[in-house]
Subunit: 425 residues, 2 copies
């Protein structure tokens, strides 16, 4: 891992490399993805079945039956059932706070202006399978859509070797999902964007995925809406000597175990803490079950940065604009106001990032690779859209008509002016 | 123009054609746009200057000086000054209602969950020039960014033949824009997305444009955020016999004069009104200043649809999901609840669409081509982003730790589980 000091001569260059961590090179997979999209548009379900045979080695039905979901839910342990239900309730409670209301505003003439909030008709959720299956991702994608009031929710997930994780099936049952399909990758995105005989065309597609999924989402954007284009997961920790270095090391490693390309950063004003955390990481690393993945991630994508002071620490973390930001120290919330760019902010000694992954309540689908500069966490707002409302009364119309006609004429749009003028008579 | 009845045998096919009006074929311009983006990335300002010479035939400075802005503002008529200021105030008042607040929520353990709202650091606004210059678009793009609290706003607009519309310059002055540049098309989008020596890299790019601009926006999406991918403008009118058919005709024509590719639809349960509006359109059309554009638009992209009744009228308009929707009839607001998909909804006899273009208050940058199914009007929300806040106290942590560890283990993420476990000791 990199061990940097902000006073190092080459620090600016090193920081630039860390800031550029998010560059997804789509150019190589783009032609492949375009081919898949075109094929799904042309041949629909037939194309999807072929993809399942080719990539996931199975010939099972596309649609996942409600029987399979119910059976899985009945089979999981009581502990897991309780955990799933607790997560469901907490995520739902949080996202309900995000619900926006239609509002009206009355101007000085009594004319009505407003904003109407409507859920999209259909949402498509992509849930990765493969290497690891994440039932928690299903909860995190489905619950905001349910809270938004989306009538029809479609789920696509790959069934590698024909198998789907039992806990994922159980979560489908718990959420009451009626339409779920065994299909992954770019094919799933194309199917939801354009529709097939089995899979309905949706309005919004959300959810994480590999480079093929991310590229497909970008390519269908505009024909449907998408949540964001996300890359590998990452964590940034701000800490001082008030923290237990073992805890920080564990949190960095919990990110590193996700993916060889996951990034973990510690920024601290304390060189003593920096060294302790580094030692802890290398002590724990070889004993982890996912040591191979975590080691590659730590070796190639992790950095510990020693900053001048807390001011510079916060500044550097804003520059990195990480997905998960922990401020693991006493009086962590003192720094909240100054955090500008982060997907989710975890405060204090009892908020390991893992809690946010499962059941703290906020969404775990978050902007990565520095895109927290402009993307938000997945939320209810991804599943609604707004319509402006304008209703002028005669008084309001009269008060505005002259200025409106002047502006229309100045822009050379005579018919615009006339559409106002005819009403003044 | 098309004159359709919902009871016609081929109506479903005709409706399908109208619904597919938004298909932007980017495949042809994509290689050109990619070339421009690569060139701007490689050669920065030099590339932009070359483009200005090639496309807009001028060699002026890239940056528009504050002197030019001030001079233009001083030169415009008092009427226009007043109109511009009235528009500014009304648009600002409306968009201030969209401001979202950071909120906190306390769970039953006293743990803190919340959502922090932060403006993006830099916004880039694209304002078309060329055929027509739209100072109103500058107001509509800049004001939500200002209200959101964006510190640095960058404007790009083409100076065809070196000239920029005086009212646009005056609006730049009124808005207090410090950084504006003479550059249009894909080059402007690339410059704002990746930065050059003169033009700062931004976080969000908004604003309308032609197919090159739309394609460039899609291609840089992910490296920056964008508002939406928009196509030609459009209007849909719902009316019955309570309306003056001349008014409806004028409103349809005010859309048609924008662009040969603009679409205008009337859906009504009254065949009598349908015929009257049609007659009015052809009576007014030849006398319009922009008759050539409007005639092509009306001939190729307009439709009058006679529906069975008001229920079907509303249903058809939801299927069309138009950018501007007028309900021009008595008790128009009775139908508001049932409108699901529309960029902006104009109610009653005194709300011609043109009022929304300039100074009713709501934004005139709206989703087109049926994308009102999933996009919202441009708003303050395009210039902010959210960060989740999670701060568990010891009690909250203890209450959740068991379930969190169970879920982490079920997903095979041991280090996630350990990061919780170490804190239970």
């Amino acid at each position: 891992m990199k061990f940097l000091k902000s006073c190092d001569a080459n620090f600016k260059d090193e920081l630039k490399i860390l800031k550029n961590r998010g560059n997804l090179d789509m150019s190589k997979v783009m032609p492949i993805v375009q081919g898949i999209i075109d094929d799904v548009k042309a041949r629909g379900d037939e194309s999807l079945k072929e993809q399942n045979l080719k990539f996931d080695k199975h010939t099972k039905e596309l649609e996942i039956s409600s029987y399979e979901m119910k059976k899985a839910y009945d089979e999981i342990s009581t502990n897991l059932k309780n955990a799933l239900n607790l997560a469901y309730e907490r995520i739902k409670t949080y996202h309900e706070k995000q619900l926006e209301k239609t509002w009206l505003h009355f101007d000085e003439y009594g004319s009505v202006l407003g904003q109407k909030v409507t859920p999209v008709d259909r949402a498509g959720l992509y849930i990765p399978g493969g290497k690891a299956a994440y039932p928690s991702s299903l909860l995190m994608n489905a619950i905001p859509a349910i809270v938004a009031g989306v009538k029809e929710i479609v789920v696509c997930t790959p069934a590698v070797g024909g198998e789907i994780n039992n806990l994922l099936l159980a979560a489908l049952y718990l959420l009451g999902i009626k339409k779920a399909f065994r299909i992954g990758g770019a094919g799933a995105i194309a199917a939801m964007a354009y529709g097939t005989n089995s899979i309905p065309k949706v309005d919004v597609i959300t959810g994480p995925g590999n480079i093929f999924v991310a590229t497909a989402k970008k390519m269908v954007f505009g024909d449907v809406n998408i949540d964001m284009i996300a890359g590998p997961s990452e964590i940034g920790v701000i800490a001082d000597e008030s923290v237990n270095p073992h805890h920080v090391a564990m949190d960095l490693l919990s990110q590193a175990e996700h993916d060889e390309l996951a990034s973990s950063f510690l920024v601290t004003p304390s060189e003593i803490l920096a060294n302790k955390v580094k030692d802890e990481i290398y002590k724990i690393l070889p004993n982890l079950k996912r040591t191979e993945i975590a080691t590659k991630s730590i070796e190639n994508r992790a950095a510990i940065i020693v900053a001048k002071d807390m001011d510079e620490t916060v500044e550097l973390m804003n520059e990195l604009a990480v997905e998960h930001l922990e401020i693991a120290m006493d009086s962590a919330s003192d720094y909240l106001a100054r955090i500008k760019h982060a997907g989710a902010i975890f405060l204090g000694h009892y908020t390991p990032e893992a809690m946010g992954d499962y059941l703290a309540g906020p969404n775990h689908t978050l902007p990565t690779g520095g895109t927290a500069r402009f993307y938000s966490p997945l939320g209810v707002y991804n599943f609604i859209k707004k319509s402006s409302i304008i209703s002028l009364n005669k008084t309001g119309f009269d008060a505005l008509s002259r200025a409106c006609m002047d502006l229309a004429l100045a822009e050379g749009l005579e018919a615009h002016k006339l559409s106002v003028e005819v009403r003044t008579k």
